[in-house]
Each structure stands twice: as structure tokens, then as C-alpha cells.
């Protein structure tokens, strides 16, 4: 969590307009879902990998490590989708369980592969947004798009408090570990519940303290964001428009070839 946040703040593309980055990621994501073709998914994954590593300056090793988690999980998910049921043995592989056959056919395998590649491509689009755009910029963007003020304020505060509480919980976990709080199952269950309740009490007290501190500095129930969002340059907008045209063209072409 802290690492993704740090990566975003140290990205080479950090000062690019968040509107362009979010637009790029979301439109490509939608393109992947609409096209849902293997060639397209692989191409998007390659493009996003290039943008994350060469474009944003993330070391390839770190990017590979980030991709490993969804890779295994999506593989398991695709394996579940690949398995079908049949009354009789059929397909490439089958096994008898409780009177029915679990079968894997060529068709279901193809579907599973399509799902796997589509999801990996989607995850890479999400990663592009995560590693190039700090959350504060995204919240600023939401504000500019006239999202309800209460919502962006809540998000702003939650974002700030997450790191506060995560730090607290981390410290408590270390303290518990140092005192053998995790020796045995019963002890670890007790430790986790103690940790969760202590963090809750701390959160409650902190929220009251923060409110007092803000009120004494003239807080009237409204947050005003003063940070400037970086604007896009004319050249960036041109490239973005060209990319969108290309993307839509590619989706249409891929759909048309696939029938």
C-alpha cells in the first residue's frame, strides 16, 4: 500500500495532467472489455507494461513482482471457468466426481484463456493508473468533475486516515509479535481481536482530537482544496486524441475480423 503510493509520487509521469492519465487508463480498460479478443488483450498488456516501466520509470523487476499476484490468482480463476460438467466422459480431460464428469473441452479452455488474458490486460491498465497518479490528483480530478463535495471530502479524509491507522496497526502488530502474541492459534486470535479493538478506540479518539484541532483553526465544515492540478499541454491533448482514435479503430477492427 505504502509502496504503490510511493511509486506514484516518484513516477516520471507524476506531473502529467491526471485527466489524461485517467482517460487513457479507463478508455483502454473499456476497450479491452468491449473487444475481448486475445490479440487485443496481449497488445494492451504490452503497451501498459511499456508505459509503466519505460514511461513511468518503474523497474521491470518490481513491475513483474506486482504482476505475479494477479497472475496466480487469475490463473486459478480461469482454471475454475475452464471446468465444465457432463454426463459422459468427453473433451480433452475428464474426471469422475459424485456421478458426474468434470470435463475440460477445447471450447472451455479457449474461453478460460480469453478471460485470463482479458483480466491481465485490465489489471495492467489499472496498474498504469496506480503507478503514475497519486490519489490526491485523482481526488482533485473528481472535484473538478463536480463530484458531490461531501463525497470527495470523505474520500480525502479516509485516504489520509488510512495511513494513520495502518501505521498504528503496524506498530501494535510488532509489539504483539515481540511479546509472543502469535504463539499458538488461540493467542493469535486474541491478539488480532485486541489489535482491532485498540485501533478502533484510537481511531475514535483521533477523530475527536483532529476535529478539535481543525475547529480551533477556523474549520467551518468545509474543506477547500487549493492545490493546482497540472493542466495538459496542447501536444499531449493531440497525442491523446490520436490514441483514442487509434484505440476505437483497433477495437472496431478486432471486432470486425472476429465477426
Amino acid at each position: 500500500m505504502t509502496t504503490v503510493d510511493r511509486i506514484a509520487y516518484t513516477s516520471k509521469l507524476k506531473d502529467m495532467s491526471p485527466a489524461i492519465k485517467a482517460g487513457l487508463a479507463v478508455s483502454t480498460l473499456l476497450g479491452v472489455l468491449v473487444a475481448s479478443q486475445n490479440v487485443f488483450s496481449v497488445a494492451v498488456f504490452a503497451l501498459m507494461t511499456a508505459l509503466c516501466t519505460a514511461g513511468s520509470g518503474l523497474p521491470l523487476r518490481q513491475y513483474r513482482k506486482m504482476c505475479a499476484i494477479p497472475f496466480w490468482f487469475l490463473l486459478a480463476g480461469a482454471a475454475v471457468v475452464a471446468v465444465g460438467f457432463s454426463e459422459a466422459p468427453a473433451g480433452l480431460w475428464h474426471v469422475r466426481i459424485f456421478g458426474v464428469y468434470l470435463v475440460v473441452t477445447l471450447d472451455s479452455l479457449r474461453r478460460a484463456l480469453e478471460l485470463f488474458l482479458r483480466s491481465m490486460a485490465g489489471v495492467s491498465c489499472l496498474y498504469f493508473l496506480c503507478v503514475t497518479t497519486p490519489v490526491n490528483d485523482l481526488l482533485g480530478l473528481l472535484n473538478r468533475m463536480h463530484a458531490p463535495k461531501l463525497l470527495t471530502e470523505l474520500m480525502m479524509m479516509i485516504y489520509r486516515f488510512i495511513f494513520l491507522l495502518a501505521g498504528l496497526a503496524g506498530q501494535m502488530a510488532v509489539a504483539q509479535k515481540a511479546r509472543l502474541g502469535n504463539a499458538g492459534y488461540r493467542a493469535s486470535l486474541r491478539s488480532v481481536s485486541m489489535l482491532a479493538s485498540s485501533v478502533f478506540v484510537c481511531a475514535f479518539q483521533k477523530s475527536a482530537a483532529i476535529y478539535d484541532a481543525m475547529e480551533s483553526r477556523g474549520y467551518d465544515g468545509n474543506f477547500d482544496f487549493t492545490g493546482e492540478l497540472s493542466r495538459s499541454t496542447g501536444r499531449q491533448r493531440l497525442i491523446f486524441a490520436a490514441y483514442e482514435v487509434l484505440l476505437i479503430g483497433a477495437v472496431v477492427a478486432v471486432k470486425w475480423i472476429a465477426g
Binding site: 490468482f73 465444465g84 485523482l138 476535529y211 481543525m214
Partner: protein, 248 residues
């Protein structure tokens, strides 16, 4: 056993281990790109009214004082941290994560959980790459709407039956957890049925996997929530009189 048999045996063990360890950690959220576009839109549309309702309810709660807003934000962050917390797991060596919706529902009500859950899911997608942007609607519907509402119903029912507080809190978290997974399985089954695999078969497939991993998980989360709630209730006397009304 010949060589080939040994190898296939090993491969099957690895695959089953993989399913058992990988699925529980991420199972509560559908990953980015898993759902076809029409289902993303449908679940998003179904979630929207709950979100708007929760938003108005929060707005009403906040109208009186800014203190409530701060507390709601803190509890949203608490839900996030709770869901990132490692929970000792019974089945596998790996640890798993609680959903944290049971506790939030009892403390703040299901309506505000719809909004807080949505924000938590968004940050999980952006900061941890759990879940995703296109599957946000589906995930929010199962974790921030279906689970909390049913869990809260069970909690009220148990309270009405004069069950001890520990039992009703346990039931709320347990049922909220299970129902979240049941709805997630339904969402997946609706998206992944076809001529070969009917809806019921697909549902059985996803439910079977969830049942294997999530029922023990839900029990652990139920116990955990009951313990946490007891601890909060015992502390609340001197620390936070405002919450005492809820914990009674």
C-alpha cells in the same frame, strides 16, 4: 507409480494448493477485467440507488456537526485497515483477510456502509490492486450492500429473540460474510454460464469453491468480530460515551 503419474499427481496437488491459498485472499473481490462489460454496467446500475440512499443518509447525519463527518471518515479508514489485517486462518497456512463489514454495519448502520464500502473498495483497487474499477459496481453490490443489509437483518432478528449480544454480533458478521460470497458467486455464475455449463452448474461450481474456503473464514471472522465488539463495549464506558448507545 511411474514418472508421468508422479508428475501429474504433483501438478494436481500444486493446482489445488494454489486454489486454496490464492482464492481466499482475493475471493471477496472480483478482479479487474473478469466481468464482461454488460455485467459491469448491470451491477453498477443496481448498486447506484443504494449508494444514493446511503449518501443522503450520511448527508443528514453530517448536517448537525462536523464531528460526525470526521468519525465516518475514520470508520471508513478503519474498515480499510481491518480488511488489510491478517487474520489467523484455520484451513491453510496462509492468512486471510476479514471483510470488516459486519462490525461497520452494527456500529454505523447498513446505509452508511454502502458509501463507506464503496470508497474502501475504490482505495483497495487504487492502492492494493484488489478488485478493480470496472468490477467496482459488482464488488460494491456484494460487499457493501448485500452482505451488510442481510447481516443487519439477522442482527436485529437475533436481538429481537433476546439472544446474548455475543451471539447476535457473531451471527451478523458470519451471515454478512457468507452472503457476500454467495452474491459474488451469483455474479460470477451469471457472467460465466453458457451452452455447456448452465447457470445452476456454474453457481454450484463457484459456491463449491467458496464453501470450501470461506465457511471456515466466515466462522473466524464471526468470532473475531464478537471479540472486538466485546472489547469496544467494555472500553466505551470511559472512552466514548457516544458509542455506548450503539453497543447496548
Amino acid at each position: 507409480m511411474n514418472n508421468w503419474q508422479k508428475r501429474s499427481m504433483k501438478a494436481s496437488v500444486i493446482v489445488s494448493m494454489l486454489m486454496l491459498t490464492a482464492v481466499p485472499v482475493y475471493a471477496m473481490h472480483i478482479a479487474e477485467g473478469m466481468l464482461p462489460i454488460q455485467w459491469c454496467l448491470i451491477w453498477g446500475a443496481l448498486f447506484l440507488p443504494f449508494f444514493v440512499w446511503g449518501f443522503w443518509s450520511i448527508k443528514k447525519q453530517c448536517a448537525g456537526s462536523g464531528r460526525v463527518k470526521m468519525l465516518l471518515a475514520m470508520s471508513g479508514a478503519y474498515c480499510f485497515v481491518l480488511s488489510a489485517l491478517k487474520m489467523p486462518s484455520l484451513v491453510t497456512a496462509s492468512s486471510s483477510h476479514p471483510t470488516g463489514t459486519g462490525l461497520g454495519t452494527i456500529l454505523f448502520g447498513p446505509a452508511s456502509m454502502a458509501v463507506l464500502g464503496f470508497i474502501v473498495l475504490l482505495f483497495q483497487a487504487l492502492l492494493l490492486a484488489h478488485g478493480g474499477l470496472t468490477t467496482l459496481g459488482a464488488n460494491a453490490f456484494s460487499m457493501a450492500v448485500a452482505g451488510p443489509f442481510v447481516g443487519y437483518g439477522v442482527y436485529l432478528l437475533a436481538k429481537k429473540c433476546k439472544a446474548p449480544r455475543v451471539v447476535s454480533v457473531f451471527l451478523c458478521a458470519f451471515v454478512a460474510d457468507l452472503f457476500t460470497y454467495a452474491v459474488t458467486a451469483t455474479e460470477l455464475a451469471l457472467a460465466f454460464n453458457n451452452a455447456e455449463v448452465s447457470f445452476m452448474q456454474a453457481w454450484g461450481k463457484f459456491m463449491g469453491i467458496f464453501a470450501m474456503t470461506q465457511i471456515p473464514l466466515a466462522i473466524v471472522e464471526g468470532i473475531l468480530t464478537a471479540l472486538v465488539f466485546e472489547a469496544i463495549a467494555s472500553l466505551c464506558k470511559d472512552e466514548m460515551p457516544a458509542l455506548c448507545a450503539v453497543t447496548k
